[in-house]
Symmetry: C2
Subunit: 270 residues, 2 copies
């Protein structure tokens, strides 16, 4: 076992480079730190490149199953614990991190994969973004579109907040609003385009949702862009009973997503 101990090693230098988002984008990869995230990525069929791990992690019997599966998919690079800690962005990377290829769908393949899509318009907060992806997966959505101006989905904080959900949903990001609207007009014309709007006449629980839909959720402070709002084929409102002007974006997305799932299940149960 060849164990890297120098930060001047080429593989460590490459890894260090990947901690700048510009370099990750250029390479089309993202980084996962810690056992739990890597297990979730493996379960979700992620496309691994390299795994950096400490000798202690490799030798621990409780990691045998994970490592046997990973070994089939990625190059193993052994690295001293101190050097791994120095490189990683989390305080304690728990002895392992992985470089994974971005699985981002380009163009119309995406729409063939996804019936229920959550569209995120300039969402800024990584925790919010991650929670929305986690919730969308839980509610049976199968696609995420993050429009240009949203936080990078492959940001560590976003990935952690998805609790592994990011690996079981089709992702499309950095799409401009213009291109999205053009696509929707042509190939994807069979989607219901849903907007939550305080001015809507129909409550979210009154609406009959179509099977193929795109739920649009807007920026935390400013809501949905006016043009997206005008493009919506359906507008719904969530009732506000108390002295509150609006809901958190992730909360609004959750309430509507689970209303959609509940309707589907009710129809099945009846």
């Amino acid at each position: 076992m060849n164990i890297i101990s120098s930060s001047q090693n080429d593989k460590v230098k490459y890894l260090n480079k990947l901690y700048r988002s510009r370099n990750r984008r250029k390479e089309g990869v993202f980084i996962l730190e810690g056992k739990r995230l890597i297990e979730a990525a493996l379960a979700g069929g992620a496309d691994f490149r390299q795994v950096f791990l400490t000798p202690a992690f490799f030798k621990s019997a409780e990691n045998d199953n994970l490592l046997a599966d990973l070994k089939l998919k990625a190059e193993f690079i052994y690295i001293e614990e101190d050097l791994l800690k120095e490189t990683a962005s989390t305080v304690n990377p728990q002895g392992i991190l992985a470089v994974v290829n971005e699985s981002v769908f380009k163009g119309n393949d995406f729409y063939q994969q996804a019936e229920k899509i959550l569209l995120l318009d300039r969402i800024q907060d990584p925790g919010n973004m991650g929670t929305m992806i986690r919730t969308a997966v839980a509610a049976g959505f199968d696609g995420i579109i993050a429009l240009k101006g949203s936080v990078d989905i492959f940001n560590q904080k976003v990935i952690r907040a998805t609790m592994g959900g990011i690996f079981s949903i089709a992702i499309r990001q950095k799409l401009s609003q213009e291109n999205f609207l053009a696509e929707i007009k042509s190939e994807a014309a069979e989607y219901e385009l849903l907007a939550a709007d305080i001015q809507a006449e129909e409550y979210h629980f009154e609406h009959q949702y179509q099977d193929n839909l795109i739920l649009m959720i807007g920026n935390e402070a400013n809501g949905l862009d006016q043009q997206l709002l005008e493009s919506a084929t359906s507008k719904i409102k969530i009732p506000l009973a108390g002295e509150i002007e609006s809901l958190n974006a992730a909360v609004a997305a959750s309430v509507i997503s689970f209303e959609i799932l509940s309707q589907q299940l009710k129809n099945k149960l009846n």
Copy 2:
């Protein structure tokens, strides 16, 4: 106008002391920074003690209405901008902060005020806690119980995340689980005690909710305490359609709270 410029001034020294949570608890107060929060607190009927403001904030015509209302309720203390910034915890307190009395209900008065209660069991994240309070208010809940071991509700981050909601709901915190269960057995026996439980047989959208209820939400990592779970009079589950083991605590609370509100509104509309 007497403008304080020295950090050795007694009033500034007192304010500085209040930035330690131990001292806030002893005094029974909390601090609000910035115009928007103070407006929300005023609208919610908060009990103000002192207002620290800069001469510039006082002189700005757009603050006239707020200041006229505040003047009736609190002592005004003028302070130089640099000194205010040095003292405040937010980077930019926007020229004003206020010391406000905690409006915490003690004992059974609380139950007389609150029909729909959200109970928070050892919630750790201030953002989660604040979002849950904001959402509870929006969904028409009128009481919050935060059991011992939860983050302090009067923490600045919690207050900010409530978006003013904290001032329009009855609050009870630092209650031990034992005391809560004892109270519920006696005076508050008419409440439905609801727990979200993955093992439940009934989906959240199938359940018929009572008018008086306590929705119990558990710690982000470990869920609801076993004894609380066993005390529940109703257990419901939120369906999980995708490859996700659980929902974020604030999301689970939102989905159930708005199902309860939707049922009420449906009954009214029919």
